[in-house]
């Protein structure tokens, strides 16, 4: 059993008891022909929390979002929001705001008309459109066709669209893509205030951990469609424990030997490895027994970034 598999079974994993979960995914699977995009995935997001949905590109995050909002049909299992299937929501625009990569804009429609269209469909008062345009700082571009927007402007319009109905739950798929550093900082603060000041639930995905690490209360980490771990950030990090950094010209040989002992090994660069799941003393003895050269052998607590990289490291390095 690898370190990662041990972790999955060790991390506390149960739906909140006080309030129904805002997001509930149970044994969810989605296959496209021979490709399995989501593989027996289960996790819960409690109401009023801000949770990060992390995984490398192609891990299955976008597919999971599409399954959550009924844009795709599961091959197996179930995906529920606010206690029911998305299709069974009574007033979806006021209950769930979704900003998905699969959502687009008509290039000839202006930003204001895009939001007006959503407002008309959802029965939302028109003044809310201008409020949202001001919130995402698109007032000056409101009457320009979206076809001429930068990716950052499109992202902000997507956020305005998701927020239009002042929904209880926000599902945001890679919202920081295309935003400049200032925009990312604004997004972090804004989403935190939505969750902590207004009691909304925010489920936000990213393949770049640094974008969400500072703002989320808990994380769901997936890779190749499977759950790697779920829990509060501190819990996930503490379960990974401490890591050992090795710098050696024999890094390849080290990686093989450590993987044989079920350690989780991440290659940081050419001669540097980060190892979790083995004591520093054990690693030292391995080096001595196999006469491997060491330039550095150092123990430290793992950051969430290192934990994320370790958890989603490629199989061949484990």
């Amino acid at each position: 059993m690898t370190g990662v598999e041990e972790l999955v079974t060790r991390v506390p994993f149960s739906p909140p008891e006080v309030e129904g979960p805002a997001v509930e995914v149970v044994h969810l699977s989605k296959r496209y022909g021979d490709t399995t995009a989501v593989d027996d995935l289960s996790f819960w997001i409690g109401s009023g929390t801000i949770a990060g949905f992390l995984g490398p590109n192609g891990a299955g995050k976008t597919t999971t979002f599409r399954l959550l909002v009924g844009l795709a049909t599961p091959t197996g299992g179930s995906a529920r929001v606010l206690g029911r299937a998305y299709q069974a929501l009574t007033d979806p625009v006021r209950q769930v705001g979704a900003m998905l990569e699969v959502s687009g804009y008509h290039p000839a429609r202006t930003a204001r008309n895009h939001l007006r269209l959503l407002a008309r469909t959802g029965g939302i008062p028109t003044p809310r459109v201008d409020e949202m345009l001001a919130l995402v700082e698109l007032e000056d571009a409101a009457d320009r066709a979206v076809g001429g927007f930068s990716s950052g402007m499109r992202q902000r319009l997507g956020l305005a669209s998701a927020l239009l109905g002042d929904p209880q739950l926000l599902l945001l798929d890679e919202p920081a893509n295309g935003l400049d550093p200032k925009g990312i900082r604004w997004l972090r603060q804004f989403l935190r205030s939505l969750a902590h000041d207004q009691g909304k639930t925010v489920f936000v995905s990213s393949h770049v951990l640094a974008e969400v690490a500072e703002m989320v209360d808990e994380v769901v980490i997936i890779d190749r469609g499977k759950l790697i771990t779920q829990g509060p950030v501190a819990t996930v990090v503490s379960h990974m424990g401490r890591s050992v950094t090795i710098r050696s010209p024999d890094a390849d040989r080290f990686a093989d030997l450590l993987a044989e002992r079920d350690a989780t090994v991440t290659r940081v660069d050419g001669d540097r490895l980060v190892v979790s799941g083995l004591e520093i003393e054990t690693i030292g003895r391995i080096a001595a027994a196999d006469q491997l050269t060491l330039f550095e052998l150092r123990e430290q607590g793992m950051s969430l970034e290192e934990t994320f990289l370790a958890l989603t490291a490629s199989e061949e390095l484990r």
């Binding site: 599409r66 909002v69 009924g70 844009l71 795709a72 049909t73 998305y86 299709q87 929501l89 979806p92 625009v93 769930v96 979704a98 998905l100 699969v102 959502s103 687009g104 804009y105 008509h106 290039p107 000839a108 429609r109 202006t110 008309n113 007006r116 269209l117 959503l118 008309r120 469909t121 959802g122 029965g123 669209s161």
Partner: protein, 251 residues
């Protein structure tokens, strides 16, 4: 449902497709109508098939019948209804706002039928404008009456129904080029081939059969029966479209 229909009409108002098709159809009808009067007024034309001068209601109706070309344009307009949203990936937002997808298809059918009828009225107005203007200019009395009005009333019905039919095709084939080619190919190739090879069967087809009955040109069916036949075809294609739309994944 009224809110959804309103949203569909708003979509058409805030993009260029509708106005472009309307402009193209209006220009075509104006040119053909004007050409008729130009050729009819040229006394040097003695060739067979040259247009007659317009002096009776039946002749004026015949001239104004060129407006029915708008049916092809509204059919294509309808064929872009869902396929166009797929092309621009706006269909995901549409289904997020209205998860009951059959309601989206139904709203598009009604919305495009309304937009198609308005399309027909505008194109007719262009043809009538040219005809009335020409006849007034040459001092010919305008033979206006019940026959002409009856003919004019049928065009918006036909263009509205064609747009609705196009929506159904678009729901069955959610690919813009595929839906447009299928709709256009059906009317211009399949139905024409059937008409040539199996004339008896052709009178029961949606456009050459039911469509001609609506405009009073069917050998057996009247307008009401033609309308019923076309609505049957419309119901079938829309029902199939709803089934396809309900089941498919949005990528």
């Amino acid at each position: 449902m009224i809110r959804l229909i309103d949203a569909e009409l708003f979509k058409l108002r805030t993009t260029r497709m509708y106005l472009r098709l309307l402009g193209a159809a209006a220009v075509l009808v104006v040119v053909v109508t004007a050409l008729h009067f130009v050729l009819a007024s040229d006394a040097s034309l003695t060739i067979e098939g040259a247009p007659e001068a317009v002096t009776t209601q039946a002749e004026l109706r015949s001239v104004l019948d060129v407006s029915s070309v708008a049916v092809l344009f509204t059919l294509i307009l309808g064929a872009t209804a869902i396929a166009g949203e797929d092309r621009h990936h706006t269909i995901a937002t549409t289904f997020l706002l209205t998860p009951a997808r059959w309601k989206v298809v139904a709203a598009k059918v009604v919305g495009y039928a309304i937009a198609g009828a308005v399309f027909g009225i505008v194109v007719e107005a262009a043809a009538v404008g040219v005809a009335v203007g020409w006849l007034a200019a040459i001092g010919t009395p305008i033979p206006f009456g019940g026959t002409v009005v009856a003919g004019l009333a049928l065009v918006p019905v036909a263009t509205g129904l064609a747009a609705a039919f196009g929506v159904g095709v678009s729901a069955v084939i959610p690919n813009q080029l595929g839906a447009v080619l299928a709709a256009f190919g059906w009317v211009m190739i399949v139905e024409q081939l059937v008409s040539g090879l199996l004339p008896d069967a052709a009178q029961w087809l949606p456009f050459t059969g039911a469509g001609s009955a609506i405009t009073g040109a069917h050998p057996q069916l009247g307008t009401a029966a033609g309308l019923g036949l076309f609505l049957t075809y419309l119901l079938a294609v829309v029902s199939l479209g709803m089934q396809v739309t309900r089941r498919r994944d949005i990528a």
